[in-house]
Amino acid sequence: MDQQDPKRGRVLPAPENFLDPAGKSRRRALGGLLTGGAALLAANSLRAAEVPAGTPAPTRFPPGVPPWSQTLGKPVGANPYGVPATFEGNIIRRSSPGLTTTTQSSVAFTPLQNLFGIITPNGLHFERNHNGRPDIDPYQHRLLLHGLVREPKLYTMEDLLRLPSVSRIHFVECGANSAMEWANPSVPTVQYTHGMLGCSEWTGVLLSTLLEDAGFDEKKAKYLLAEGADAAGLTRTIPIGFALDDVIVAYGQNGEMLRPEQGYPLRLLVPGVQGISNVKWLRRIKVGDQPFNTREETLQYSDLMPDGSSRQYTWIQEAKSVITSPSGGQQLLDKGGYFEITGLAWSGRGHIKRVDISTDGGKNWRAAKLQTPVLEKALTRFRADWTWDGSPALLQSRCIDSTGYVQPKMRQLREVRGTASIYHNNAIQTWLVDAEGKVHNVEV
């Protein structure tokens, strides 16, 4: 790292910052922190300044040979189920302090700032439960499909694993993602602003396959009820149109069985629709002829409007994007350095057509590069080159989906929906890079 091109910009607390204690970049980083002046950081820098005396010579770098090149490594199979490197120990889901009263009805956010590409590692996919996470024995789990069907059916997991299957990559976003930002910026990092978001390759049986298997009433069936086997018995109404289109009764997540946090052994996957409709620990589907008006469709997950009314059945997650690096909490070094701006875009109505980037708070825009694959109702990774000139910058991304819809500004959303609606905040996010390179969550 020490020999990198000095013109290449570096981010202090970010993937590029694999620094050695005695390294040149570390000293420059300390300089940056000291000029920052924050008491906390300064205190840490003082501690750090004492370290070099006892620091061993950097023999791990050329011409030295590091110990791992001279020592027999661990045996194959030392970790029969692999885990991330110990150095990745701080790449974890986090709960936002003070957000929820209990740890059972709560949420832990995906660390979007740490991730690459479009697939969320299974252990980092955000977790939102309503009455705690059950541990379900798959051999004793059953899916009941009944209501307006010719033959009500009870499926075992083995039955479901034998039925024709599909694997598809889709995002899951909580309807309340970015909820804390409706009134004003209130959280520091993209993990908290946008981290109720994940994207996986989901495997399972198309719901339409099961509906046909049970002989659903094609004339009368209008809405389905999906119910979880958790203590919440969480229920949501699913329209028959979605059910026959692309809804999956899923047991697989990125090549393995679902994680318990994502509904092991069975969940619903309703592409493009707010997270709560993707009912986890799925135990029952009832075919009906009218919406079910569940508690999670009235008391919560309905959008409060300025006139005091509530919008109900707000299923679709509209097009949204966010820059994940540079993002809140990071610090850029090297004024005049090159930085790659990168982030994620997605739409519940189709695929992403274009993502634009602004570094001046939305005055001027240019198109970012989209990384393939660009899939329907899936995260799309975008990238743009940026050379920071060292002066304050306001970074924004704005996406356009396959319907031509353009991601709105926060004030445009507020003009129509006010500030109390909690759900469906898909506004453009602004990150301020200040003159010291520190990145902050702001609104313009």
Partner: protein, 314 residues
């Protein structure tokens, strides 16, 4: 087996094949069983606004009062006013059908042991909560006929919103894809208050790669206290964490506060076990702790042992 028995057996087998025939022809996978009415009845618990799904039974406001005080008040407040847990004010100001209240209490409440109330009890608690919210009079009796007829104050204000109900629904807020000179002036209009992040989130530098674990100069991760095996699992299993957290007050005191209070008391363990078993109020405020009859003596002993190992609050 006699000849006649064999014939009967063969006939029965043929009858079975015939019976299975049409269904098998319709379902090409031959997977899954036909669900019996009894099986469906056990799980078919949803209740619709028109009352479909409401079971037989009934419950009055006064019956509900007793159940509520024993099973609900500790979280929701004696008058549904709690601001720790969801206040029940939403029943009046956001809920459109009383049937949904029944459905939810029946499937998801009480929080630590859901689906434990009988139909009569759910009707009674529903009636009481509706009365607390001034929606029904004190002599209201909830049953499958009366509940769908309750006029919720907010009913007409909850409306399906077609814009987000289908992929091609019309968007209500649109931006334009302007590329040059799109804003006259750009100003930062809102940001996080100074000190906010440090106070609430601590040092967030370890939220990124290259710190804490990878950068040896970063502040050390605070080590967790040594814990008695099983204590944490048991407070989850028995639902203690619904009202208590290790280091903060929720409805009841923090476990560390309890540990502090009994730290120098020789008889503390027996006393604590008794208090958990019998419940009570007064020691930590007026909110009563319900009696805990379910955990075994061994589990309570483990929990109390675990409590005694918690570090003090300071």
């Amino acid at each position: 087996m006699s000849r006649s028995e064999r014939i009967v057996g063969a006939l029965a087998a043929i009858a079975l094949l015939v019976a299975a025939g049409p269904a098998a022809a319709q379902s090409k996978y031959h997977l899954g069983q036909k669900a019996t009415p009894e099986q469906i009845a056990g799980w078919d618990i949803d209740v619709r606004p028109d009352g479909a799904g409401l079971p037989a039974g009934q419950g009055s406001v006064s019956q509900g009062n007793d159940i509520y005080d024993a099973q609900c008040a500790s979280c929701h407040g004696t008058f549904g006013e709690s601001n720790t847990y969801l206040a029940l004010t939403g029943v009046k100001t956001k809920l459109n059908y009383a049937t949904t209240l029944y459905d939810y209490i029946n499937r998801a409440m009480p929080f630590p042991h859901s689906k434990s109330l009988s139909a009569d009890e759910v009707y009674a608690v529903t009636a009481y909560v509706l009365n607390l919210s001034d929606v029904v009079p004190a002599d209201f009796v909830a049953d499958r006929d009366s509940l769908p007829k309750v006029e919720m104050p907010y009913r007409d204000r909850v409306k399906p919103y077609s814009g987000l109900m289908s992929v091609d629904g019309k968007a209500d807020v649109q931006n334009t894809a302007c590329m040059q000179n799109c804003e006259k002036e750009v100003k930062v209009t809102a940001s996080l208050p100074a000190g906010f992040v440090e106070n609430l989130y601590g040092d967030i530098r370890d939220n990124f790669r290259g710190l804490a674990t990878m950068n040896k100069l970063a502040p050390p991760v605070t080590s967790a206290p040594v814990e008695v095996a099983g204590g944490l699992e048991l407070i989850q299993k028995h639902g203690c964490v619904v009202c208590h957290a290790v280091d903060k007050k929720i409805v009841g005191p923090a476990f560390r506060s309890v540990a502090d209070k009994y730290r120098d008391n020789a008889d503390a363990r027996a006393q604590l076990i008794r208090k958990i078993r019998d419940g009570g109020s007064g020691a930590w405020g007026t909110v009563p702790m319900p009696p805990q009859t379910e955990p075994s003596d061994a589990d309570l002993a483990t929990v109390v042992e675990w409590l005694s190992t918690l570090p003090g609050e300071k």
